[in-house]
């Protein structure tokens, strides 16, 4: 059966866990490095041995507040931790410290551009802090299945972002996540990578007949480890629920797991709803207005504002401005390069076309390389001055990632200077034309495509260094005068 999903409107809300990159865990001094050798980063507090008392980390609160501000939330004057009671081997004290009754921040939003190109403001109900739980590793010992517990992650600082049920399509959910991720990364409070598990998104989905207002029973979907998977899982779940409704089967409140290989969701358990009682040991967080203002000052210009400014100040096209503002380090690199006389459009084109792909291929970020805005701007100047051509400049750029030498030096040492000297170019062109009399004849019989063929040969003969503009002039002149 292929139900008509247009009959229904999808109501989608997200619950997003983001791991803060604070140096320590949320309630003790253990390093916040879940990836270390198992159970290395533990102490009586995060192992919850008898007699231990949680000690709230100031750095974690600071980073959480930064994240909340980036999501346009209002910071609560008083927030407090509760015990979310449940029993599972990943939580050996029987409750998770989380903020249920008094979350850190409320009433935020993220702006996106919807599918029809119109701006949409998607609400955030609240953001609260909580501790991560231990990681379970399931193995077998001989034929016996065993489960191991790694406490490195236990107590890692998280914020959970709970949205309003404002999204209506997988596209909107994905755009929300992309924008949220970009903004959070900008603050420097988190790496925010779904692939690496520092951002985890669960989706709550329900359907209602188009044009009605009631909120129906929702289904929670977990286990998506990329933004695309979130979109795919939601799309699948909309289809599945529409089929249920067409068959007049009731939708029940439960949790489903996304299976990325089979691309379906499967039922996991009833949705968890345990008690949350105030924790007597962790003192309430009372916001000091002056302190909060200091944190607010740390908040960088956000990507959307930056993009608008890039369009206004540097005349970038909307898509260029968007690309230049997605990552804070790249945006700052772009702007610094532009201040070094690089033409904004050229800088943006080179960043999108060459710098970003090179970093991606190497799995590096800008700070991992030797590339500076000054050197990058200098390289673009060399191109403008026709001292190096685009092809050679690409080679030089790759070397600049690994070398602190200025581009002029790399060009000189590597012999990348562009050949603009007419005598040398003419000699190259003459040699090629002499070797290919048939193709010269074809050109003269009106086959203009041959020009491109000769350009390629000539460029190759110059080892890629020929000034393409001069080369084409000479080639055309020679062919036309022959």
């Amino acid at each position: 059966m292929n139900p008509d999903t247009n009959k229904y409107e999808a109501i989608i809300g997200l619950e997003i866990h983001v791991q803060l990159n604070a140096a320590t865990k949320l309630f003790c001094d253990c390093p916040n490095q879940p990836g270390d050798a198992p159970n290395r980063n533990t102490c009586p507090v995060c192992l919850w041995l008898p007699g231990a008392i949680p000690r709230l980390s100031g750095e974690a609160v600071e980073k959480a507040v930064l994240g909340c501000l980036a999501a346009n939330c209002t910071i609560a004057e008083e927030s407090a931790f509760d015990q979310k009671v449940y029993y599972y081997p990943d939580l050996p004290k029987g409750f998770q410290l989380s903020q249920h009754h008094k979350p850190l921040a409320v009433n935020g939003w993220i702006d996106i551009i919807g599918e029809n190109g119109e701006a949409r403001r998607l609400g955030i109900h609240h953001i609260h802090m909580e501790e991560d739980v231990a990681r379970l590793v399931h193995e077998t010992e001989g034929r016996t299945p065993i489960s191991l517990v790694d406490f490195n992650r236990a107590g890692a600082p998280l914020i959970e972002i709970v949205t309003e049920p404002d999204m209506r399509s997988p596209y909107e959910a994905m755009e929300f996540l992309k924008s949220l991720r970009t903004r959070l990364r900008y603050t420097g409070c988190t790496e925010c990578s779904m692939e690496q598990g520092t951002m985890r998104a669960d989706a709550n989905i329900s359907l209602r007949p188009a044009g009605t207002e009631a909120l129906n029973t929702k289904v929670e979907v977990k286990n998506m480890n990329s933004i695309h998977h979130v979109g795919d899982a939601i799309a699948y779940e909309i289809l599945r629920q529409a089929e249920c409704l067409e068959r007049k089967e009731p939708v029940t409140l439960h949790t489903r797991l996304w299976d990325p290989d089979k691309r379906i969701t499967t039922p996991m358990r009833e949705k968890f709803a345990g008690p949350c009682v105030p924790d007597p040991s962790v003192p309430a967080i009372r916001m000091d207005a002056e302190w909060l203002e200091k944190i607010r000052q740390q908040l960088p210009e956000m990507p959307a504002q930056k993009a608008e400014r890039f369009m206004a100040d540097y005349g970038l096209a909307p898509n260029e401005a968007h690309a230049m503002s997605q990552e804070r380090d790249m945006a700052e690199f772009f702007e610094a390069a532009v201040k070094q006389v690089a033409t904004p459009h050229k800088a943006a084109t080179w960043i999108t076309g060459h710098v970003t792909p090179a970093l991606k291929e190497r799995g590096q970020s800008l700070s991992d390389t030797c590339l500076t805005p000054e050197h990058f701007a200098a390289l673009l100047s060399l191109i403008d001055q026709e001292r190096v051509n685009a092809g050679a400049a690409r080679e030089v750029l790759l070397q600049m990632l690994e070398s602190e030498a200025p581009p002029e030096e790399i060009v000189a040492k590597g012999g990348y200077q562009q050949i603009s000297d007419s005598d040398r170019l003419e000699a190259i062109v003459d040699g090629i034309l002499a070797d290919h009399p048939d193709d010269v004849a074809a050109y003269q019989n009106g086959n203009s495509k041959v020009l491109g063929f000769f350009m390629g040969l000539a460029m190759k003969a110059s080892q890629g260094k020929a000034n393409p503009r001069r080369l084409k002039e000479i080639l055309s002149k020679r062919l036309d005068s022959n």
Binding site: P44, L47, W48, L49, P50, G51, A52, I53, P54, R55, L56, Q83, V85, Y87, P89, P92, K93, G94, F95, S147, G274, P275, V277, P278, D279, P280, S281, V282, P283
Partner: protein
């Protein structure tokens, strides 16, 4: 080791320093207070075999002050009540001069009262809970038993104060306890809530009135002005305490799963059954019913828990108002017919501690003065209770009374 009295007794007393305010003072603890490497089972099979991995802040500070730790005595399971406590016996037998007893319902005051010693529960937040195997984090704190208020004050002074390991303590440093002087003129007015009379038989009321009367008169020359005050809804303290304490206990005990220490059931098809079986074997009847009660409010009736929290705030503010007019309150420690040392059920325990638990619910300092209010053979004990962080005033008033009893402080 005298195993009738001791859970753990070191081969030789533990003394880290021979100098300091407590130099040479022999201190006994209970096995819910962490002393590194000592068996710390809190009187429960749920912690069987657990040896503390660090010193509690109180223990570390007492050691630094020159105290000598002589052992830990048996205690009621997880510190709820005093059935099975051997602290008073061990102190009376001369094993220690000061006993540290966790007070969540009135255990330190009650043990002291039964043995004829002075017992003190400090203000909540004055003494670090770091290293305390707790049951009811918002009510409990380390209490003191000693022969007189001055020695309690000395021990308190040595261990009290802000601790970077316990953020739940007030950030502002409370006033120092200071040496407690017998002659100091402190609070003069003492109020007794008239509602207490409903709880006591005529003979007990007579005994308490007589004790208070003597304080006001020349016999003690302490110059106290005794007044009757009004504390309506006194019976609500017990209800609020029980609901909140059981919920906190249920959470506190979540970690006792028999996996890393404690009693572990051998049967069970999976981890969940292993948890359930271990817990059903580990806990005694009273704790079990307490945990059931807490889980009931957590899972089934959260509204009543919230109401209890609202009630608690109201009762605290009612007491605050009372202290505006009367700096100290007086109450007996025990009811004449209750037997706290034999209480086996939650109901019996809460009945027996009905007069001491208000100080826990409200986080107030409370001192038990022995041998001044006797109803026949029973020492009812007299509590002096002051506003939060007025520990020094309470102990000073207690020391004035002690000095008069002893005849100008010869002892």
């Amino acid at each position: 080791m005298d195993s009738d009295l001791f859970t753990y007794q070191p081969a030789s007393p533990l003394q880290a320093s021979r100098q300091g305010a407590l130099a040479g003072t022999q201190i006994l603890v209970q096995p819910d207070l962490s002393v590194k490497d000592w068996l710390t089972d809190a009187g429960s099979r749920a912690l069987a075999g657990f040896h503390a991995v660090m010193d509690a802040t109180t223990v570390a500070r007492a050691k630094t002050a020159g105290a000598c730790l002589t052992g830990s005595t048996h205690m009621a399971e997880l510190g709820l009540g005093i059935n099975g406590n051997t602290m008073a016996g061990a102190l009376s037998a001369g094993y220690g001069r000061v006993g540290l007893v966790t007070d969540l319902l009135g255990e330190a005051r009650m043990s002291a009262c039964l043995a004829g010693w002075y017992g003190f529960k400090p203000s909540y937040g004055l003494v670090s809970r770091f290293g305390l195997v707790g049951l009811v984090p918002s009510m409990e704190c380390t209490g003191f038993i000693a022969p007189n208020p001055a020695e309690i004050a000395a021990a308190l002074e040595a261990v009290a104060g802000p601790d970077e390991n316990d953020f739940s303590m007030p950030a502002a440093s409370p006033q120092p306890i200071g040496p407690v002087a017998a002659s100091e003129n402190g609070a003069n007015r003492i109020g007794m809530p008239r509602q207490i009379r409903e709880y006591l038989p005529a003979s007990a009321i007579e005994a308490v009135d007589a004790a208070l009367g003597r304080m006001a008169q020349a016999e003690f020359d302490a110059g106290f002005d005794i007044q009757e005050t009004d504390l309506p809804g006194f019976d609500l303290f017990s209800a609020a305490h029980q609901v909140i304490a059981s919920v906190e206990a249920s959470s506190s005990c979540g970690k006792y799963d028999g996996v890393r220490y404690g009693c572990r059931a051998e049967d069970g098809r999976d981890w969940n059954e292993m948890y359930i079986n271990s817990r059903s074997q580990a806990f005694g009847t009273q704790i079990k019913s307490f945990l059931f009660q807490g889980a009931y409010f957590q899972f089934e009736n959260y509204t009543d828990f919230e109401n209890a929290c609202i009630l608690r705030r109201k009762l605290v503010s009612r007491l605050d108002d009372l202290f505006e007019a009367t700096p100290l309150l007086a109450l007996p420690v025990r009811l004449p017919h209750a037997e706290p040392e034999r209480a086996e059920t939650i109901e019996e325990t809460y009945t027996a501690f009905g007069l001491t638990l208000p100080a826990n619910l409200a986080g107030l300092p409370a001192l038990c003065i022995p041998a001044v209010a006797r109803d026949g053979e029973t020492d009812l004990g007299l509590q002096l209770i002051g506003p939060r962080l007025s520990d020094a005033q309470v102990l000073t008033a207690g020391q004035r009374i002690y000095t008069r009893i002893q005849g100008d402080g010869n002892k």
